[in-house]
Amino acid sequence: MKQIINIAVKEFKDYFISPIAYIVISIFLVVTGWFFFSTFFLFDTANMRNFFSMLPIIFAFVIPAVTMRLFSEEVNVGSYEILLTMPVSFTDIVVGKFLAATLFSACMLFPTLSYPIFISFIGEIDPGPVVGGYIGALFLSGGFCAVGLFSSSLTRNQIVAFIIGAAICFVLTIIDQLLFFVPPSITEIIAFFGADSHFQSIAKGVIDSRDILYFLSVIFIGLFGTYIVMQEKN
């Protein structure tokens, strides 16, 4: 457990040593801020539904950019060898890196908390969906971080890692809009794989154990996949 924290702290600090953190956070805030507020006053309602509805698609591109370096860079630079010859297990490494990335995503979301605060000055805002939305956003970022971590473990090239990660996250996000392509008998199963619908249901303020379980499963599969890739490389 201590080793997980050591690795997570190191990886988390790493984000802020390099300019990546600041660039990614700025881009995220500019994009979400612009998309959200450009239509906010047109709707004339004091809620954040619009913000949360586009969050998955933005996360699908931003989170893989956060996670792409976690393994690729280590393998490319060779520090992977140093990491693996220190007394840490694969689980420590995978979970530590995952926690660092998720924590970083939370940091990225943190400034957006100012939106509901400002909105509350100009209208009555229902706190339920906002709280639900942020809890859902944490689960969503966790799921995407696990997917991104997995794609980063596949290759030593960060750009390839980003593209693979973004592709998987994007498919997970839009899959429930593609349901008319699949035979009706399996639509329900396919629909269950969509990250967007699970996220939106949490963001309504309804915290359903099925949705939580979905994100936990994505996280588990992503991390386990990473673990297997590491073992395979070894």
Binding site: K2, Q3, N6, I7, K10, K13, D14, I17, S18, V77, G78, S79, E81, I82, L84, T85, M86, P87, V88, S89, N234
Partner: protein, 314 residues
């Protein structure tokens, strides 16, 4: 201390390490020699638990690396080739991180860092980013990394490659200093280095051990296979006559006439299978006939030529 049993590693169908058996005693400095691609790094990577062997086993203090690699990793400090460190970290931050991973108690970290920075000469670069450092400095940070937990075994992969002569001397000195109480395994393809620092030399070629002996024995073995080069002024000297005359000295020698570099000389190579110094006898033998010697030198075979002989391609 370390037992390597029938260690084998295949990369797909390519056999990098082919059934190596080794036993390394406590406190030994072992040099792993071999040409490029002989399997040195692969062997070291398996010893440190970075690669899983395809077959065979490694026991460190009777703990199998297959059963409990974490425990083994705790006992070993490792410096990979060209010290691939986290280049965006400060030296100080990096060493603190390593100290934490190596389970050094928080209150001891500072004092340990101080010791290491003195030992490896890092005090002036602690506040620098690792990517700013020259290769030699990186190597020293890597050494500090390897020695962080004061491990009983140190494994260094080509610790001096790419360094300038001063830096090589420094690193060698550090190795010698710490080698007094630790077991050290290091790989190199520089023979003089192995000769200068190691107690024992293992030469591998194409994944197999081709020589495994103490440095002294290998050196003796090298010098026992000596040859003597002899040149005489050629006025009135018949080379066949010389050959026969010298051969009558002892049956253990072989004399071969060779082309001489200078016109007025006749030259010979004299090979001997005994370890006795023959120069005195040869001189006396020649003196009987009053031939005039232009050159009489003993060339002992160096470690270099043994290495060359053992590792040359088919």
């Amino acid at each position: 201390m370390i037992q390597v049993k029938n260690l084998t590693k295949y990369y797909d169908s390519f056999c990098a390490v082919d059934g190596i058996n080794l036993e390394i005693k406590n406190g030994e400095i072992l040099g792993l020699l071999g040409p490029n691609g002989a399997g040195k790094t692969t062997t070291l990577r398996m010893l440190t638990g970075f690669f899983k062997p395809t077959a065979g086993d490694i026991l460190v203090k009777n703990i199998s690396i297959l059963d409990d690699s974490l425990k083994v990793k705790e006992l070993i400090g490792y410096l990979p080739e060209s010290a691939p460190l986290y280049h965006n970290m400060l030296v100080y931050d990096y060493l603190c991180y390593v100290a934490k991973i190596r389970k050094i108690k928080n209150e001891h970290i500072q004092s340990r860092l101080k010791e290491l920075s003195e030992l490896c000469g890092l005090s002036s670069i602690m506040h620098k980013s690792i990517y700013e450092l020259s290769k030699g400095l990186k190597q020293r940070v890597g050494l500090a990394h390897a020695m962080m937990s004061d491990p009983e075994i140190l494994i260094l992969d080509e610790p001096t490659s790419g360094l300038d002569p001063n830096q090589i001397a420094e690193i060698r000195q550090i190795i010698k200093r710490i080698g007094k109480e630790k077991t050290i395994i290091f790989s190199t393809h520089i023979l003089s280095e192995a000769e200068a620092t190691c107690d024992r030399i293992v030469i591998i070629n194409k994944g197999k051990i081709v020589a495994d002996d103490s440095t002294q024995t290998l050196k003796n073995r090298a010098s026992s296979n000596s040859n003597i080069q002899l040149s005489l002024y050629s006025d009135g000297v018949d080379s066949d006559q010389v050959v026969n005359h010298l051969k009558s000295l002892t049956t253990e020698i072989d004399v071969i006439t060779k082309e001489s570099a200078e016109k007025n000389l006749v030259s010979f190579d004299i090979y001997s299978s005994s370890s006795k110094d023959l120069r005195r006898d040869i001189y006396l033998k020649i003196k009987e006939r009053d031939w005039i010697i232009a050159q009489l030198t003993q060339k002992s075979q160096t470690l270099e030529s043994i290495f060359h002989e053992l590792t040359k391609g088919d």
